[in-house]
Symmetry: C2
């Protein structure tokens, strides 16, 4: 934005501040939310149909795939943004399906570490490849430059939100 445009911009800001512009954030949020829901539902449907897996299971396995030595449940909880109690159940079901193993390390018996089994790794590998393709397809009509820009700008939003949380949510 050049300085030569500043007069126009000032006018726009005044108008925005007094009228329409008040709900920009709300409008953005609603669009983010509906878009995210739309994509989530599509991914969930495909994971189910093609792999018999759920989205939370996929998310959890993604974290374990990145840490081949396994992760403590609390760490899994943080990375997946899922509550502790929820992680317990998720891992439990994945263990029943033979995709994940649970173990308690010798050093600290408070801890449970979850780890992908060989079968889990194989399955996730296939799911991840498909998953990436689905996203490319879904966003096929969007200019790559826009995608990159969105990644940046949403990062700014995420930062701002992180700095304005009410709950005891800092470390």
């Amino acid at each position: 934005m050049t300085e030569s445009e500043s007069a126009t911009v000032d006018l726009e800001i005044i108008v925005q501040g007094t009228q329409e512009g008040k709900k920009q954030e709300l409008r953005l949020w609603l669009r983010m939310l509906s878009t995210t829901k739309l994509i989530s539902q599509e991914i969930r449907r495909r994971l189910r149909n093609e792999f018999g897996a759920t989205l939370p299971q996929f998310d959890l396995m993604a974290q374990l795939y990145r840490e081949r030595d396994g992760l403590r449940l609390g760490e899994l909880s943080k990375r997946t943004m899922v509550t502790n109690g929820n992680v317990t159940g998720l891992v439990e079901r994945l263990e029943t399906d033979g995709l994940v193993l649970r173990a308690t390390p010798d050093g600290d018996r408070r801890v449970t570490v979850a780890k992908l089994t060989a079968r889990g790794e194989t399955l996730f590998s296939a799911m991840a490849a498909a998953h990436e393709g689905w996203l490319r397809d879904m966003m096929a009509d969007v200019d790559p430059a826009i995608i990159s820009e969105l990644w940046q700008d949403i990062g700014a939003v995420k930062s701002s939100v992180s700095n304005h949380l009410s709950g005891a949510d800092f470390d």
Copy 2:
């Protein structure tokens, strides 16, 4: 690394360490998802603490607030992007709390119409005002121009996604 000091957890780890060019869409998706989760959790916490309400209840009431004559459950389902079966339970609980009323119109007895009660309208009105403020606060660090741009560009993403769904479902 500015984000790393917050409690924000990156689901973006999946992409880490791979080549730059190829996974833009995946990278964007993961950031959208984690940001949306972050904001949702904050709003849910505040709705709970300050109004004793849940986020899906808020969403549903928002639709009814815009249509004072009420909406059929199927229409509510579409607008909130929630399945039919889910709407049944949500409306049921809201009715128990005296915030919503259910009625069957004379013309068509297949239909159930849900409508806000006076108490529901009052409560939602207060929640909506607070909700809007929370979003403004959370996004306070983001340039208004960026917010507007994001709204536009996410619209493009939503459009693209809508045109590439597998389930026969687009409008």
